[in-house]
Amino acid sequence: MRFYSSRAALALLLLLTPLTLLAQNFLLRGAVRGSDGSALPGANVAVPALGLGAATDADGRYELSLPAGRHRVVASFIGYKPVNEDVNLRANQRLDFTLSVGTELQEVVIEGRGTLEQKLQTTQMGVERLSVREAKLLPALFGEVDILKTLQLKPGVQNGGEGTSGLFVRGGSSDQNLFLVDDAVVYNPNHLFGLFSTFNSDVVQSVDLYKSGFPAQYGGRLSSVVDVKLREGSRDSFGIAGGLGLISSRLAVEAPINKGKGSFIVAGRRTYFDVFTRQINRLNDDDPDYNPIPDYYFYDLNLKANYQLTDKDQVFLSGYFGNDVFGFNSTRGFNFDFHWGNRSATARWSHVFNPRLFTNTTATWSYYTYSIENKLDQFSFGLGSNIRDWNLRSDWEWRPNDKHVIRFGGSGTLHHFGVGRLQAQGGSFSIGQNVEYDGLEGGLYAADNFTVTDKLALDYGLRLTGFQSGTNEYGGVEPRAAARYSLTPRFSLKGSYALMYQYVHLVTNSGASLPTDIWYPSRLSVKPQRSQQVSTGFSWLIGSGKFLLTDEVYYKWAQRQIDFRDGAQLFVNPELDAEFLFGKGWAYGNEIYLEKKEGKTTGWLGYTLAWTKREFEPQRGTTGINQGRAFFPTYDRRHNLTLVLLHKLNKRVNLTSSFVYTSGNPTTLPTGRIGVQDVYGGELQAVPIYPDRNSYRLPSYHRLDLGVVYKLKPWRKIGGESDLTLSIYNAYNRRNPYFIYIDEVRNEETNLPESYRARQVSLFPVIPSLTYNFKF
């Protein structure tokens, strides 16, 4: 929870309030819930007269330290009608709020003002809180709302390629993001090469993205934390929500438990590409030369239940189960099945000891696996990998007085790395190989958010971490610090420092997140990755508080970065360590961000100027990468501009748009070719000769998306509502480069190579889509 103050308000207070009361502050604490009983994290609770306010935490709890006396307290949250309550504070007191869903115009006004002031006053830098309501309004590819793609529209966050939801934060690679869903780690938050994320927008309550100044309770990844909290079900009524889209449908059901003491929500979605492809296959059943189109689909299932045991105790359970399935049966008798997916479970107990001390105890389980099975008659071939975590953590928050918020706790994780599994069986042979490791990761932390004066606030802490796998043991001390100094009530200077260790590594030889990427522990020759980041900047509330302008400069340097030697054998290799190359990386840049969250037109403008480099010196009998010279990784982008606008036309119609411009990403193109005849058979083959890695940059990327959300007439009899969402992805049909390859043109008569030409492949042209959403 964050506090803010207003010099003028305090002066007024000094004149009006008896000194005896002024000297004494009391705690006002409670929870903010929606009318359905679900907790509202990120809601604002404020006393406008004093210029004081706080945001609710992940469980919807807030706490305000107020002088004794009468106050009007306002609770607000995007999408809900604000509620005012008068309170006469003579002792520590509890005050809960229940907000009902409001019109969007109101929600934008209230949410905007509170959020921007809160961002101005917080010591935390490089953080973005994303409301799913915001994400749901924006146009989306195939109409599929995706919170990770909305995060990509924020400064400092790059995507991994056209349409993909992978995140590359401030020069960090895709494995350096810690994805948490209700505190459980998600190792591969993607479906289908990252075209869709695993987060179903129907059940996501909020997303926090940390890019720098990481709070001490987070650790284990170098570059970012994406903390996703799922929605709790309604505590007072049964409800159904869902949607029918171009490629998938989704449904969520929620209901109270035991007269509002708890609730649950179950949500699922599934794509139906396979329904169409099976029809096409069926129509070609008679064609003996027809090769059937493989089946592909994915599905997700989320479950969350909570229960209030006593006034001071609450428990919740949360679970996720999702799979991608891809496979086909060829006419040659060859069966191919490839599936991958995440599962996770969380159980949490929250206990409030007293108004100044509370704790959360959380147990989580995470599992990611992929499996490839090939069969031909009596021959079979199987390949796979997985990672499984058991985690127990305890987090405490203690407010000894009005100036300090102390957080401390610890966590332990038992990892199991199924690095590679291979099984093959045939007429005369049977082979099998498993490469497996265990690992134990622990962390202890303590941090103090110290409001030194009205102008100066500090947030400093320390995290001690350790990792053990076999006889290999590593440890690290991770100091974290952030400071905010308010030059004026509307202008704050900020700075932060964080040191991070990462003990688990993703084995991937591509720029994108693939289902076949493997997680690997720190071992004898694979030391933990480490990074340090400093950042500084300012936040400036302008235009009567309607706009917040933020500027942040950062410099990050990282050691023991991992890449692979050319031709590395990454699958089922018991000596995988030998394929690794170790190097260093650094990234720096400036992010400018202008936000407007108030009025009929809201949105943001972001611009990032950034450099990311990596360097791998000659080692282990290799020449390193690019003979040891620094190079730009594929996710380096010099310029990145985003403009997002949401306009409420009238009660029924919202117009939305987003525009993105980024510099082209570095890629490797062959410069030369050789001809290889081989021993027997075939024709002369052109073999590309690749120079340095990533020495060519693709053309720049830009795209405009447009959207209209049209609210249909409510179903008054059953209290339901629905809307039609039209999205136009890539509205001006820009052929953005996905990749470039060199094509051989052959003479049609002689079939000899005539010339070579570069061909650019784009992934998505203009794609309109319509989604029908309903809720009752």
Binding site: G161, F193, L195, P288, N291, I293, P294, Y296, F326, R332, G333, F336, F338, I372, L376, D377, F381, L383, L422, G426, G427, S428, F429, I431, S510, A512, L514, P515, D566, G567, F571, T671, G672, R673, I674, G675, V676, Q677, Y680, G681, G682, V687, P688, I689, Y690, P691, P737, Y738, I740, I742, P753, E754, S755, Y756, R757, A758, V761, F764, P765, I767
Partner: protein, 300 residues
């Protein structure tokens, strides 16, 4: 948005990858299949040609000598010397006339191959240099190749003949479809000790064409076992098949794999571009001594 020939060609290309991604059943092949599916489906859904010509300005690097030389016991040595060329340059046959090639036997006898451009009538392969006598090579023998030109470029390489690995049995069986198709299996005994590399090929009718089946197994997981290699149900009755099993040394295996990877990376956005791992120093290319077993079968 019109559907043109380029788009249809891309779909065909995707279809080929789906059906035979690298000829292997591994994880990389699975990725390529999925990628191909995604591109093909995007094309089908949007009905658009998503390919277009691109203007790229590729740097021109100094030309390197490229050598390709495979020795065989009992045959006259032939080899090809060419140069690297800019990728986008027009293919024009260029023969280097200032190159000297010498071959040194295990006993230290050096023979200079004659500059005699031509085409081998059996293999249909072109060569620029040719020896004068048939070579006597035994498994374990190491030969040396030296290539120099008047510009001062020098390429050197050595190659050792791998041990002979005989084919144990070749079998085939038909499936029960109305038009039955046969699968072929080949068994051989892998020698003890990890580090044996193979190239398995099945040609239909003629070894002058591309093989119908080809892959490159190794004994990392099969050391010392009776290994079975197979095809899918893809051969018709009375097909004449030529089954070849090459035993390779590691440098030659790495070269073959690297050219395969380099070709696969051109057109695969997720493939990591791979440098060609030459078996020679000072240039690019391969110098190897072949040892293979070959059988002809008619499936009926």
């Amino acid at each position: 948005m019109k559907t043109d020939r380029g788009f249809l060609r891309m779909l065909e290309r995707m279809k080929r990858i789906l059906n035979n991604p690298d000829g292997r059943p591994g994880a990389r092949a699975a990725q390529r299949r999925l990628m191909a599916w995604m591109l093909a489906l995007t094309g089908l859904l949007t009905g658009c040609n998503l390919e277009q010509n691109a203007d790229v300005d590729l740097p021109v690097l100094p030309a390197q000598l490229v050598v390709e030389c495979y020795l065989e016991a009992g045959k006259i040595p032939e080899m090809t010397v060419t140069e690297t060329v800019p990728y986008l340059s027009t293919p024009t046959p260029t023969i280097l006339t200032d190159v000297t090639v010498t071959l040194t036997s295990p006993r230290g006898v050096t023979e200079t191959l004659r500059f005699q451009p031509g085409q081998n009538p059996d293999t249909r392969k072109f060569f620029t240099h040719r020896g004068t006598r048939r070579l006597s090579i035994q498994p374990g023998d190491t030969w040396q190749l030296t290539v120099t030109d008047t510009k001062g470029r020098r390429v050197m390489g050595t190659a050792t003949m791998p041990a002979t690995v005989p084919i144990d049995t070749i079998e085939w069986m038909f499936n029960n479809r109305p038009e039955p198709r046969a699968m072929v299996t080949v068994k051989f005994q892998d020698p003890p000790g990890v580090g044996d590399f193979y190239r398995f090929q099945v040609h239909n009718d003629s070894i002058s064409d591309d093989p119908d089946v080809e892959y490159f197994p190794e004994d990392r997981l099969l050391d010392g076992q009776l290994v079975t290699l197979g095809t899918s149900y893809e051969f018709a009755q009375n097909d004449t098949l030529i089954v070849s099993l090459f035993h390779l040394d590691q440098p030659y295996y790495n070269f073959l794999r690297s050219i395969n990877d380099a070709q696969s990376a051109n057109g695969n956005p997720f493939g990591q571009p791979a440098a060609v791992q030459s078996t020679v120093q000072g240039g690019i290319g391969v110098f190897a001594i072949l040892n293979y077993q070959r059988r002809l079968i008619i499936v009926r």
